[in-house]
Subunit: 211 residues, 2 copies
DNA sequence: TAGATTGTTAATCGATTAACAATC
DNA sequence: TAGATTGTTAATCGATTAACAATC
């Protein structure tokens, strides 16, 4: 079966749909039309229908979409109908912040261990999650199936660590280091480049100054 | 003068060019052709030339681009030739991590104050940056020109705080709360939705499982 | 000069929007 | 049934890639 390729633009929009539908669900909204959702989200109704129909027909003519059903279906598409075993490499400020962020648990992403080289941190706990030595990483990966590794180490160390993780079977890398990681294509890398994000903001701020 | 609109796709790529050129600069590479850069960055040479020519001709036929010059020019385009006064709203884990992240300073983004409602945090310092009470925010904004406010408060509080910031003249919002902010269009919002990022990762991981 | 590589125009490709028949 | 709204095809728009003349 030739699976039709879903464009990256569509995938990028899915979490936002999921978020809006989750909000509607909390407000006990039962149904919503693509038109109404489009007004809230400031996109075209056409785009919403087109996007959703990449994955199947979730609506009903004359009625619209059932919020609970659509929310749940998008959740499944996003892979949120299972749990993920996550580890964090780097127990610095950002690593600790991620470990402390309880909202990931709610969506099924469970941080099970944090790794660092700093002897002062090794052995301590963050929200009940143990900080282990980097020396233990390989053994840990051999005895535990890790789905996602968040990398929050300095730029220079990230590529080497990422290669190790890939070699040891980690298929998902959530990369916070300000560098690109070149890994085998069976490994999925999702980048969060905070400094890039800040630069986009400064671009738009200076653009306005020039007007 | 009718300024030609630069597409969002181009702007999103600029920080990445800047990053690669910075790396080349550190390695003392003097010149680079669009072809060579395209191989490193895994994009087409055509795209690089097309992107750069939105802003002017920075290269030379038969030679390529001078790395230092191009790096500096892209820096200017991104607005990195000036300093930014930044504050952080929310001294939780993420807010503290951002405050501790010294790399922003290097690019000209200076965190001058952090605001929170937690009495246990107010008055303390993070990397020499004072945590102030939210009650002081308005006065602070009146007496200081703040360029960028990073919002790291819970989802429910973010929209109200963002409106306050906009009303008090803040033109740049770096939003980490998992919600969209609807603000007047003279205010620039850059979102960092970590949970969305994680969902994109889980989408691609489950997509692979299905193959 | 000859070779290399840009800047830029033209061609292609893909994504978004519009339109409307199908149908609840 | 009549009205509403989807699912889907067609039209438009924009972004990417290819090609090449200009020129260093």
């Amino acid at each position: 079966m030739q699976k039709k390729e879903i464009s990256k633009a569509v995938i990028n929009r899915l979490p936002r749909y999921y978020r809006y539908l989750g909000d509607l669900l909390e407000k006990d909204v039962v149904r919503i039309s693509s038109k109404e959702l489009s007004e809230r989200m400031k996109v075209t109704a056409s785009q919403i229908r087109q996007d959703l129909n990449n994955f199947g027909g979730f609506g009903q003519q004359g009625y619209g979409y059932n919020v609970e059903y659509l929310h749940s279906e998008i959740g499944k598409i996003l892979g949120l109908d299972r749990k993920y075993h996550m580890i964090i490499i780097g127990a610095g400020n950002l690593g600790q912040a991620l470990a402390n962020y309880a909202d990931f648990d709610k969506k099924g992403f469970f941080v099970k261990a944090i790794f660092d080289i700093n002897p002062n941190l090794i052995g301590s706990q963050i929200r009940g999650i143990e900080v282990k030595s980097m020396d233990e990483l390989e053994d840990y990966l051999i005895s535990n199936k890790v789905d996602i590794a968040a990398i929050t180490v300095p730029k220079t160390k990230a590529p080497g660590i990422a290669s190790d993780l890939a070699r040891l079977g980690v298929k998902g890398i959530w990369n916070f280091a300000p560098t690109d990681l070149n890994l085998p294509k069976d490994v999925t890398v999702e980048n969060v480049h905070l400094i890039d994000s800040l630069m986009k903001l400064s671009y738009r701020l200076s653009e306005k100054d020039e007007e």
